[in-house]
């Protein structure tokens, strides 16, 4: 018998054994779980459901509000800086001035750090990440995977 014949014979044997297998019985709790989940979903408010299930008016309002928020986020800093000299309370203008000072200090510190230090820090982070990943893999193999195999 050639290798091909053996392969075909093995395929036929396995195919026949597996196809003769009866269906596995679903747990008796399945129907009750499905009904409970359907009831729970039916009882939810529209805003608790996925976006596709929202009423059209709510979806349109959401898009308009989102666009308005984006426009505000883009334009707001300019308005605020303009308003500093005009009508903003002293506390707000001081807050903005402090923020600008912090940004300037942060920028000068980052410029003064040698590139080698940056690479070294990135290297340490990469090594720590790899160590955690390796420890996780080892723990999975030692604990969870073995437990699953034993449970079978």
């Amino acid at each position: 018998m050639t290798d091909l014949d053996q392969e075909k014979s093995l395929e036929r044997f396995v195919d026949r054994v597996l196809r003769e297998q009866p269906l596995q019985s679903a747990p008796s709790s399945l129907a009750a779980r499905v009904l409970a989940e359907i009831e729970q979903r039916e009882a939810r408010a529209w805003w608790q459901m996925g976006f596709q299930a929202w009423p059209p008016a709510a979806r349109i309002a959401f898009w308009i509000a989102s666009l308005a928020l984006i426009a505000f986020a883009v334009e707001a800093p300019e308005w605020m800086l303009t308003a500093v000299d005009l009508e903003m309370p002293m506390s707000v203008s001081r807050g903005l001035a402090l923020w600008q000072a912090l940004m300037t200090i942060g920028s000068s510190i980052s410029n003064s750090i040698p590139a080698q230090w940056t690479y070294a820090v990135l290297g340490v982070i990469a090594v720590m990440y790899a160590t955690c990943f390796g420890a996780g893999a080892a723990a999975y193999r030692a604990l969870l995977d073995n437990r699953q195999r034993l449970a079978r």
């Binding site: 093995l10 044997f13 597996l18 269906l23 596995q24 747990p27 129907a31 499905v34």
Partner: protein, 176 residues
């Protein structure tokens, strides 16, 4: 639902290899069916629809799980490739060859299948139970066609060994 629940659950549990996850998937399938109830109520292909949804959801789970744990789970040893742990854990054929052979045999065959390494079991299930061609299996699992064929071949060989151990041989099946 009761008419199809075993079909859906079987498909899910064979693909995922995990009964708890299969129950979650079966629940999701029937909730989807409820959402499409108007179409399915009169459809003659409702069973096929349910099976396809079950298969797709199970494959989503299985491939996600594969990607997540591929590095961890598939650092397979030679023993795992041969299904060694299954053979060591099984009762001998004499113990199982009693009056309730049919049901017990089915359970042992399912256990033998579940004992295969994930990368062999899943393509084998998709080929023999879900009747998917090699090309589709490769596309679904995002692996090469050659690897699918090798995994299925090795899976069959390992399964045949495990079946032989429980007294299911090609000769016995041919006579049945």
């Amino acid at each position: 639902m009761r008419a199809h629940q075993n079909l859906v659950f079987s498909s899910a549990v064979r693909i995922t290899g995990n009964a708890a996850q299969a129950e979650d998937i079966a629940q999701e399938v029937f909730i989807k069916a409820y959402e499409h109830f108007d179409n399915l109520r009169t459809s003659e292909t409702a069973g096929g629809w349910l099976r396809t949804v079950a298969r797709n959801l199970s494959l989503n789970y299985a491939t996600r799980h594969r990607r997540r744990w591929r590095l961890f789970s598939e650092m397979a040893t030679g023993e795992e490739d041969e299904g060694g742990d299954f053979q060591d854990g099984l009762p001998s054929p004499e113990v199982t060859a009693d009056g309730t052979l049919g049901a017990q045999r089915s359970v042992l065959i399912e256990e033998a299948l579940r004992s295969l390494p994930e990368h062999q079991r899943l393509p084998l299930v998709l080929y023999h139970f879900e009747e998917m061609p090699y090309e589709e299996i490769a596309a679904q699992l995002k692996i090469s066609l050659a690897k699918v064929k090798v995994d299925i071949h090795r899976g069959r060989a390992a399964l045949a060994k495990a079946l032989e151990r429980i007294g299911v041989t090609a000769d016995e099946v041919a006579q049945a």
